[in-house]
Protein backbone atom coordinates (compact mmCIF):
# COMPACT_ATOMS: atom_id res chain seq x y z
CA UNK A 1 0.00 0.00 0.00
CA UNK A 2 2.79 2.34 0.97
CA UNK A 3 4.64 1.43 -2.18
CA UNK A 4 1.53 2.11 -4.22
CA UNK A 5 1.09 5.50 -2.60
CA UNK A 6 4.73 6.33 -3.18
CA UNK A 7 4.31 5.36 -6.82
CA UNK A 8 1.23 7.56 -7.18
CA UNK A 9 2.30 10.53 -5.10
CA UNK A 10 5.43 11.38 -7.04
CA UNK A 11 6.50 14.99 -7.55
CA UNK A 12 5.43 14.82 -11.16
CA UNK A 13 1.98 13.50 -10.31
CA UNK A 14 1.46 16.08 -7.59
CA UNK A 15 2.49 18.89 -9.93
CA UNK A 16 0.18 17.41 -12.56
CA UNK A 17 -2.66 17.57 -10.05
CA UNK A 18 -1.83 21.18 -9.22
CA UNK A 19 -1.65 22.08 -12.89
CA UNK A 20 -4.94 20.28 -13.56
CA UNK A 21 -6.63 22.23 -10.79
CA UNK A 22 -5.18 25.48 -12.10
CA UNK A 23 -6.64 24.61 -15.51
CA UNK A 24 -10.05 24.05 -13.88
CA UNK A 25 -9.81 27.42 -12.12
CA UNK A 26 -8.82 29.13 -15.36
CA UNK A 27 -11.62 27.48 -17.34
CA UNK A 28 -14.22 28.47 -14.74
CA UNK A 29 -13.11 31.98 -13.85
CA UNK A 30 -12.52 33.12 -17.42
CA UNK A 31 -16.11 32.22 -18.34
CA UNK A 32 -18.12 35.03 -19.88
CA UNK A 33 -19.48 37.52 -17.36
CA UNK A 34 -22.04 39.28 -19.56
CA UNK A 35 -25.68 39.21 -18.36
CA UNK A 36 -27.39 35.80 -18.78
CA UNK A 37 -30.59 37.45 -19.92
CA UNK A 38 -31.87 40.95 -20.47
CA UNK A 39 -34.86 42.02 -18.45
CA UNK A 40 -37.44 43.45 -20.82
CA UNK A 41 -40.38 44.76 -18.88
CA UNK A 42 -40.88 43.02 -15.63
Amino acid sequence: MRRLLRAILTRENLWALVLGLVLVALVVLTANSGPRWIYQGF
Binding site: T10, R11, E12, N13, W15, A16, L17, L19, G20, L21, L23, V24, V27, V28, L29, A31, N32, S33, P35, R36, W37, I38, Y39, G41, F42
Partner: protein, 380 residues
Amino acid sequence: MNPDSMSARNKGQGIHPLRLLAKALIVFVVLDLGFGLVNTSGLGRISAYNLLFPGRERFPFGQEAAESYNLSLYNLDAMFASHVLSAGGNPTGEFRVLLLGDSSVWGTLLQPQETLAGQLNAEGLVVCGKGARFYNLGYPTASLMKDLMILDQAMSYRPDLVVWLTTLDAFPRSAQLASPIVANNPARVRDLIARYHLSLDPHDPALVESTFWDRTIWGQRRDLADLARLQVYGLMWAATGVDQAYPGTFTPAQRDFPADASYHGSSGPTLEESQLAFDVLAAGQRVAGQVPLLLVNEPILISSGRNSTIRYNLSYPRWAYDQYRAMLGQFARQAGWPYLDLWNAISPSQFTNTEFHLTPAGETLLAEKVAQAIRSPSCP
Protein backbone atom coordinates in the same frame (compact mmCIF):
# COMPACT_ATOMS: atom_id res chain seq x y z
CA MET B 1 12.37 32.54 -8.72
CA ASN B 2 15.83 31.29 -9.52
CA PRO B 3 15.85 29.02 -12.54
CA ASP B 4 19.15 27.49 -11.46
CA SER B 5 17.82 26.34 -8.10
CA MET B 6 14.68 25.09 -9.81
CA SER B 7 16.89 23.21 -12.22
CA ALA B 8 18.92 21.74 -9.38
CA ARG B 9 15.75 20.61 -7.60
CA ASN B 10 14.39 19.01 -10.73
CA LYS B 11 17.57 17.18 -11.58
CA GLY B 12 17.17 13.59 -10.69
CA GLN B 13 13.48 14.12 -9.86
CA GLY B 14 12.43 12.92 -13.30
CA ILE B 15 9.79 15.53 -14.14
CA HIS B 16 9.34 15.45 -17.87
CA PRO B 17 7.52 18.54 -19.21
CA LEU B 18 5.46 16.79 -21.88
CA ARG B 19 4.55 13.97 -19.51
CA LEU B 20 3.60 16.55 -16.86
CA LEU B 21 1.41 18.39 -19.34
CA ALA B 22 -0.22 15.16 -20.48
CA LYS B 23 -0.94 14.09 -16.91
CA ALA B 24 -2.35 17.52 -16.08
CA LEU B 25 -4.64 17.31 -19.07
CA ILE B 26 -5.73 13.86 -17.91
CA VAL B 27 -6.45 15.27 -14.44
CA PHE B 28 -8.46 18.04 -16.04
CA VAL B 29 -10.42 15.65 -18.25
CA VAL B 30 -11.11 13.31 -15.33
CA LEU B 31 -12.33 16.19 -13.14
CA ASP B 32 -14.31 17.63 -16.03
CA LEU B 33 -16.11 14.44 -16.92
CA GLY B 34 -16.39 13.31 -13.32
CA PHE B 35 -18.23 16.51 -12.52
CA GLY B 36 -20.78 15.57 -15.16
CA LEU B 37 -21.32 12.18 -13.56
CA VAL B 38 -21.85 13.22 -9.96
CA ASN B 39 -24.85 15.05 -8.60
CA THR B 40 -23.68 18.60 -8.10
CA SER B 41 -27.11 20.06 -7.49
CA GLY B 42 -26.24 20.94 -3.90
CA LEU B 43 -23.31 23.14 -4.89
CA GLY B 44 -25.47 26.25 -4.71
CA ARG B 45 -26.07 25.74 -1.01
CA ILE B 46 -22.41 26.45 -0.22
CA SER B 47 -22.47 30.14 0.54
CA ALA B 48 -20.55 32.73 2.48
CA TYR B 49 -23.70 34.82 2.86
CA ASN B 50 -25.16 34.90 6.37
CA LEU B 51 -21.79 33.53 7.48
CA LEU B 52 -18.99 35.92 6.54
CA PHE B 53 -21.27 38.75 5.49
CA PRO B 54 -25.00 39.49 5.74
CA GLY B 55 -27.52 37.97 3.37
CA ARG B 56 -29.09 40.03 0.62
CA GLU B 57 -32.44 41.69 1.20
CA ARG B 58 -33.71 40.38 -2.14
CA PHE B 59 -32.78 37.69 -4.65
CA PRO B 60 -29.64 38.29 -6.69
CA PHE B 61 -30.51 39.82 -10.03
CA GLY B 62 -28.64 42.21 -12.26
CA GLN B 63 -27.42 42.98 -15.75
CA GLU B 64 -24.66 45.45 -14.95
CA ALA B 65 -22.64 43.41 -12.52
CA ALA B 66 -19.83 45.94 -12.13
CA GLU B 67 -22.26 48.70 -11.08
CA SER B 68 -24.81 46.67 -9.12
CA TYR B 69 -22.47 44.11 -7.50
CA ASN B 70 -25.17 41.69 -8.50
CA LEU B 71 -25.91 39.17 -11.20
CA SER B 72 -28.68 36.91 -12.42
CA LEU B 73 -28.26 33.20 -12.03
CA TYR B 74 -30.53 30.20 -12.40
CA ASN B 75 -29.46 28.24 -9.32
CA LEU B 76 -32.34 28.56 -6.88
CA ASP B 77 -30.33 27.04 -4.03
CA ALA B 78 -27.67 29.72 -4.43
CA MET B 79 -30.31 32.44 -4.67
CA PHE B 80 -31.89 31.32 -1.39
CA ALA B 81 -28.54 30.75 0.29
CA SER B 82 -27.54 34.34 -0.48
CA HIS B 83 -30.84 35.72 0.87
CA VAL B 84 -31.17 37.01 4.41
CA LEU B 85 -33.99 34.49 4.77
CA SER B 86 -31.28 31.85 5.16
CA ALA B 87 -29.75 33.65 8.12
CA GLY B 88 -30.66 30.67 10.22
CA GLY B 89 -33.59 29.24 12.11
CA ASN B 90 -36.77 31.07 12.86
CA PRO B 91 -35.91 33.41 15.68
CA THR B 92 -38.46 33.18 18.44
CA GLY B 93 -40.84 36.05 18.39
CA GLU B 94 -40.57 36.60 14.64
CA PHE B 95 -43.78 36.47 12.61
CA ARG B 96 -42.26 35.46 9.30
CA VAL B 97 -43.95 36.83 6.19
CA LEU B 98 -42.78 35.98 2.67
CA LEU B 99 -43.60 38.31 -0.20
CA LEU B 100 -43.88 36.72 -3.64
CA GLY B 101 -44.16 38.62 -6.87
CA ASP B 102 -42.45 40.10 -9.86
CA SER B 103 -40.05 43.00 -10.41
CA SER B 104 -42.39 45.44 -8.69
CA VAL B 105 -42.04 43.39 -5.49
CA TRP B 106 -38.31 42.88 -6.10
CA GLY B 107 -38.08 46.65 -6.39
CA THR B 108 -36.81 47.85 -9.76
CA LEU B 109 -35.38 51.37 -9.30
CA LEU B 110 -35.87 51.08 -5.53
CA GLN B 111 -33.32 50.73 -2.77
CA PRO B 112 -33.88 47.67 -0.55
CA GLN B 113 -35.43 49.74 2.22
CA GLU B 114 -37.84 51.41 -0.25
CA THR B 115 -39.35 48.16 -1.50
CA LEU B 116 -42.61 46.79 -0.18
CA ALA B 117 -40.75 44.45 2.16
CA GLY B 118 -38.46 47.21 3.31
CA GLN B 119 -41.31 49.58 4.01
CA LEU B 120 -43.35 46.93 5.83
CA ASN B 121 -40.35 46.08 8.00
CA ALA B 122 -39.95 49.75 8.81
CA GLU B 123 -43.54 49.85 10.11
CA GLY B 124 -42.58 47.50 12.93
CA LEU B 125 -45.83 45.57 12.78
CA VAL B 126 -46.77 43.21 15.56
CA VAL B 127 -48.83 40.26 14.40
CA CYS B 128 -50.15 37.52 16.64
CA GLY B 129 -48.02 38.93 19.41
CA LYS B 130 -44.81 38.68 17.42
CA GLY B 131 -42.77 41.24 15.53
CA ALA B 132 -43.45 40.80 11.83
CA ARG B 133 -40.41 40.37 9.58
CA PHE B 134 -41.05 40.63 5.84
CA TYR B 135 -38.81 38.83 3.36
CA ASN B 136 -38.65 39.99 -0.24
CA LEU B 137 -38.90 36.93 -2.50
CA GLY B 138 -39.97 38.89 -5.55
CA TYR B 139 -38.11 38.26 -8.77
CA PRO B 140 -38.31 39.94 -12.17
CA THR B 141 -40.53 38.32 -14.85
CA ALA B 142 -44.21 37.70 -14.49
CA SER B 143 -44.98 34.03 -14.21
CA LEU B 144 -47.12 32.14 -11.72
CA MET B 145 -44.90 29.12 -12.31
CA LYS B 146 -41.90 31.17 -11.26
CA ASP B 147 -43.69 32.21 -8.08
CA LEU B 148 -44.78 28.62 -7.42
CA MET B 149 -41.23 27.36 -7.81
CA ILE B 150 -39.95 29.96 -5.36
CA LEU B 151 -42.81 29.29 -2.93
CA ASP B 152 -42.13 25.57 -3.03
CA GLN B 153 -38.54 26.13 -1.90
CA ALA B 154 -39.47 28.92 0.50
CA MET B 155 -41.83 26.72 2.53
CA SER B 156 -38.78 25.03 4.08
CA TYR B 157 -38.16 28.32 5.90
CA ARG B 158 -41.41 27.86 7.84
CA PRO B 159 -43.21 31.11 7.16
CA ASP B 160 -46.18 32.25 9.17
CA LEU B 161 -47.81 34.02 6.26
CA VAL B 162 -47.29 34.26 2.52
CA VAL B 163 -48.35 37.36 0.59
CA TRP B 164 -48.59 36.65 -3.12
CA LEU B 165 -48.75 39.77 -5.28
CA THR B 166 -49.70 39.09 -8.85
CA THR B 167 -51.08 40.63 -12.00
CA LEU B 168 -52.67 39.51 -15.26
CA ASP B 169 -49.37 39.18 -17.14
CA ALA B 170 -48.33 36.35 -14.80
CA PHE B 171 -51.32 34.22 -15.86
CA PRO B 172 -51.14 33.39 -19.59
CA ARG B 173 -50.03 29.81 -20.16
CA SER B 174 -47.49 31.07 -22.70
CA ALA B 175 -45.82 33.10 -19.94
CA GLN B 176 -45.39 30.26 -17.48
CA LEU B 177 -42.22 28.71 -18.86
CA ALA B 178 -40.94 31.84 -20.61
CA SER B 179 -39.30 33.17 -17.46
CA PRO B 180 -35.56 32.29 -17.81
CA ILE B 181 -35.36 31.12 -14.23
CA VAL B 182 -38.22 28.71 -14.85
CA ALA B 183 -36.92 27.54 -18.21
CA ASN B 184 -33.52 26.75 -16.71
CA ASN B 185 -34.88 24.65 -13.85
CA PRO B 186 -36.65 21.93 -15.81
CA ALA B 187 -36.39 19.30 -13.08
CA ARG B 188 -38.19 21.49 -10.53
CA VAL B 189 -40.81 22.44 -13.09
CA ARG B 190 -41.50 18.84 -14.06
CA ASP B 191 -41.72 17.87 -10.40
CA LEU B 192 -44.31 20.59 -9.72
CA ILE B 193 -46.28 19.69 -12.85
CA ALA B 194 -46.40 16.06 -11.73
CA ARG B 195 -47.16 16.75 -8.06
CA TYR B 196 -50.00 19.18 -8.72
CA HIS B 197 -51.18 17.89 -12.10
CA LEU B 198 -50.66 21.22 -13.76
CA SER B 199 -51.82 21.75 -17.32
CA LEU B 200 -48.35 22.43 -18.61
CA ASP B 201 -46.22 20.34 -20.93
CA PRO B 202 -43.32 18.80 -18.97
CA HIS B 203 -41.44 18.46 -22.26
CA ASP B 204 -42.16 21.95 -23.48
CA PRO B 205 -39.31 23.04 -25.78
CA ALA B 206 -38.97 26.21 -23.69
CA LEU B 207 -37.46 24.10 -20.92
CA VAL B 208 -33.68 24.11 -21.23
CA GLU B 209 -32.54 20.52 -21.04
CA SER B 210 -28.99 19.75 -20.10
CA THR B 211 -27.01 16.93 -21.58
CA PHE B 212 -24.12 15.15 -19.90
CA TRP B 213 -21.71 17.53 -21.64
CA ASP B 214 -23.62 20.50 -20.23
CA ARG B 215 -23.08 19.09 -16.75
CA THR B 216 -19.29 18.80 -17.06
CA ILE B 217 -17.05 21.54 -15.67
CA TRP B 218 -16.60 22.92 -19.18
CA GLY B 219 -20.35 22.85 -19.78
CA GLN B 220 -21.16 24.38 -16.42
CA ARG B 221 -18.27 26.82 -16.30
CA ARG B 222 -20.52 29.85 -16.59
CA ASP B 223 -22.77 28.61 -13.78
CA LEU B 224 -19.78 27.83 -11.58
CA ALA B 225 -18.23 31.20 -12.30
CA ASP B 226 -21.50 32.90 -11.38
CA LEU B 227 -21.62 31.03 -8.07
CA ALA B 228 -18.09 32.21 -7.28
CA ARG B 229 -18.76 35.78 -8.42
CA LEU B 230 -21.96 35.91 -6.38
CA GLN B 231 -19.89 35.18 -3.28
CA VAL B 232 -17.33 37.84 -4.11
CA TYR B 233 -20.05 40.39 -4.84
CA GLY B 234 -21.44 39.60 -1.42
CA LEU B 235 -18.48 41.50 0.00
CA MET B 236 -19.50 44.55 -2.03
CA TRP B 237 -23.10 44.14 -0.90
CA ALA B 238 -21.95 44.14 2.69
CA ALA B 239 -19.55 47.03 2.16
CA THR B 240 -21.92 49.32 0.26
CA GLY B 241 -25.51 48.09 0.60
CA VAL B 242 -25.78 48.45 -3.19
CA ASP B 243 -27.49 45.65 -5.09
CA GLN B 244 -28.85 47.44 -8.13
CA ALA B 245 -27.56 49.86 -10.75
CA TYR B 246 -29.68 53.01 -10.60
CA PRO B 247 -29.74 54.99 -13.86
CA GLY B 248 -29.60 58.76 -13.58
CA THR B 249 -32.80 59.08 -15.56
CA PHE B 250 -35.43 56.71 -16.86
CA THR B 251 -38.17 56.84 -19.45
CA PRO B 252 -41.51 57.12 -17.61
CA ALA B 253 -44.17 54.52 -18.34
CA GLN B 254 -46.20 55.28 -21.42
CA ARG B 255 -49.50 57.03 -20.91
CA ASP B 256 -50.55 57.43 -24.54
CA PHE B 257 -51.22 54.35 -26.62
CA PRO B 258 -52.12 53.32 -30.13
CA ALA B 259 -55.74 52.37 -30.77
CA ASP B 260 -54.94 48.73 -30.17
CA ALA B 261 -57.12 46.53 -27.97
CA SER B 262 -55.18 43.30 -28.38
CA TYR B 263 -53.85 41.15 -25.58
CA HIS B 264 -51.55 38.20 -26.33
CA GLY B 265 -52.77 38.02 -29.91
CA SER B 266 -56.45 38.26 -29.07
CA SER B 267 -58.67 41.30 -29.54
CA GLY B 268 -61.38 39.97 -27.29
CA PRO B 269 -64.09 40.26 -26.33
CA THR B 270 -63.60 37.16 -24.20
CA LEU B 271 -60.58 36.36 -22.07
CA GLU B 272 -60.39 32.58 -22.13
CA GLU B 273 -60.00 31.28 -18.60
CA SER B 274 -58.45 28.11 -19.96
CA GLN B 275 -55.59 30.18 -21.33
CA LEU B 276 -54.84 31.48 -17.81
CA ALA B 277 -52.89 29.35 -15.36
CA PHE B 278 -55.33 29.36 -12.46
CA ASP B 279 -54.32 25.77 -11.76
CA VAL B 280 -50.81 27.00 -10.98
CA LEU B 281 -52.25 29.60 -8.64
CA ALA B 282 -54.38 26.94 -6.96
CA ALA B 283 -51.33 24.72 -6.57
CA GLY B 284 -49.78 27.54 -4.57
CA GLN B 285 -52.40 27.05 -1.89
CA ARG B 286 -51.56 23.37 -1.69
CA VAL B 287 -47.85 24.14 -1.49
CA ALA B 288 -48.49 26.60 1.33
CA GLY B 289 -50.50 23.95 3.17
CA GLN B 290 -51.57 25.25 6.58
CA VAL B 291 -49.74 28.53 6.16
CA PRO B 292 -52.18 31.35 5.38
CA LEU B 293 -51.82 32.87 1.96
CA LEU B 294 -52.93 36.44 1.17
CA LEU B 295 -53.51 37.03 -2.53
CA VAL B 296 -52.99 40.58 -3.76
CA ASN B 297 -53.90 41.94 -7.19
CA GLU B 298 -51.10 44.44 -7.46
CA PRO B 299 -51.60 48.07 -8.43
CA ILE B 300 -51.35 49.06 -12.07
CA LEU B 301 -50.99 52.41 -13.75
CA ILE B 302 -54.41 53.59 -14.95
CA SER B 303 -53.74 56.08 -17.67
CA SER B 304 -55.94 58.96 -18.79
CA GLY B 305 -53.95 59.63 -21.94
CA ARG B 306 -54.62 58.93 -25.61
CA ASN B 307 -56.68 55.75 -26.17
CA SER B 308 -56.93 55.17 -22.45
CA THR B 309 -60.57 54.32 -23.04
CA ILE B 310 -59.25 51.22 -24.82
CA ARG B 311 -56.24 50.44 -22.67
CA TYR B 312 -55.50 50.98 -19.00
CA ASN B 313 -51.79 50.98 -19.85
CA LEU B 314 -49.30 49.59 -22.33
CA SER B 315 -49.73 46.02 -21.02
CA TYR B 316 -53.50 45.78 -20.51
CA PRO B 317 -56.50 46.51 -22.71
CA ARG B 318 -59.50 47.25 -20.55
CA TRP B 319 -61.61 44.32 -21.77
CA ALA B 320 -58.97 41.76 -20.80
CA TYR B 321 -58.01 43.26 -17.49
CA ASP B 322 -61.60 43.76 -16.30
CA GLN B 323 -62.42 40.13 -17.02
CA TYR B 324 -59.22 39.01 -15.29
CA ARG B 325 -60.13 40.98 -12.19
CA ALA B 326 -63.53 39.38 -12.08
CA MET B 327 -62.03 35.91 -12.56
CA LEU B 328 -59.42 36.46 -9.88
CA GLY B 329 -61.98 37.72 -7.39
CA GLN B 330 -64.22 34.73 -8.07
CA PHE B 331 -61.29 32.34 -7.78
CA ALA B 332 -60.28 33.76 -4.41
CA ARG B 333 -63.84 33.54 -3.11
CA GLN B 334 -64.27 29.95 -4.24
CA ALA B 335 -60.86 28.92 -2.89
CA GLY B 336 -61.44 30.76 0.36
CA TRP B 337 -58.29 32.83 -0.06
CA PRO B 338 -57.98 36.17 1.68
CA TYR B 339 -57.84 38.54 -1.29
CA LEU B 340 -56.84 42.18 -1.65
CA ASP B 341 -57.66 43.88 -4.94
CA LEU B 342 -55.37 46.92 -5.07
CA TRP B 343 -55.48 47.40 -8.83
CA ASN B 344 -56.39 51.09 -8.61
CA ALA B 345 -54.96 51.84 -5.18
CA ILE B 346 -52.02 53.93 -6.39
CA SER B 347 -52.31 57.11 -8.43
CA PRO B 348 -50.57 57.25 -11.84
CA SER B 349 -48.06 59.82 -10.60
CA GLN B 350 -46.50 57.19 -8.35
CA PHE B 351 -45.40 54.89 -11.15
CA THR B 352 -41.91 54.95 -12.57
CA ASN B 353 -40.62 53.27 -15.71
CA THR B 354 -43.40 50.71 -16.20
CA GLU B 355 -47.07 50.42 -15.37
CA PHE B 356 -46.14 48.21 -12.38
CA HIS B 357 -43.09 49.80 -10.78
CA LEU B 358 -43.83 52.25 -7.99
CA THR B 359 -41.95 55.19 -6.54
CA PRO B 360 -40.90 54.97 -2.88
CA ALA B 361 -43.96 57.03 -1.97
CA GLY B 362 -46.15 54.65 -3.98
CA GLU B 363 -44.63 51.70 -2.13
CA THR B 364 -45.38 53.42 1.17
CA LEU B 365 -49.06 53.65 0.23
CA LEU B 366 -49.06 50.03 -0.90
CA ALA B 367 -47.37 48.96 2.31
CA GLU B 368 -50.04 50.69 4.37
CA LYS B 369 -52.79 48.81 2.56
CA VAL B 370 -51.02 45.45 2.85
CA ALA B 371 -50.25 46.11 6.51
CA GLN B 372 -53.94 46.78 7.21
CA ALA B 373 -54.82 43.40 5.74
CA ILE B 374 -52.09 41.64 7.71
CA ARG B 375 -52.76 43.25 11.08
CA SER B 376 -55.60 40.96 11.93
CA PRO B 377 -54.98 37.48 10.60
CA SER B 378 -56.32 34.43 12.32
CA CYS B 379 -53.59 33.64 14.78
CA PRO B 380 -52.88 30.06 15.83
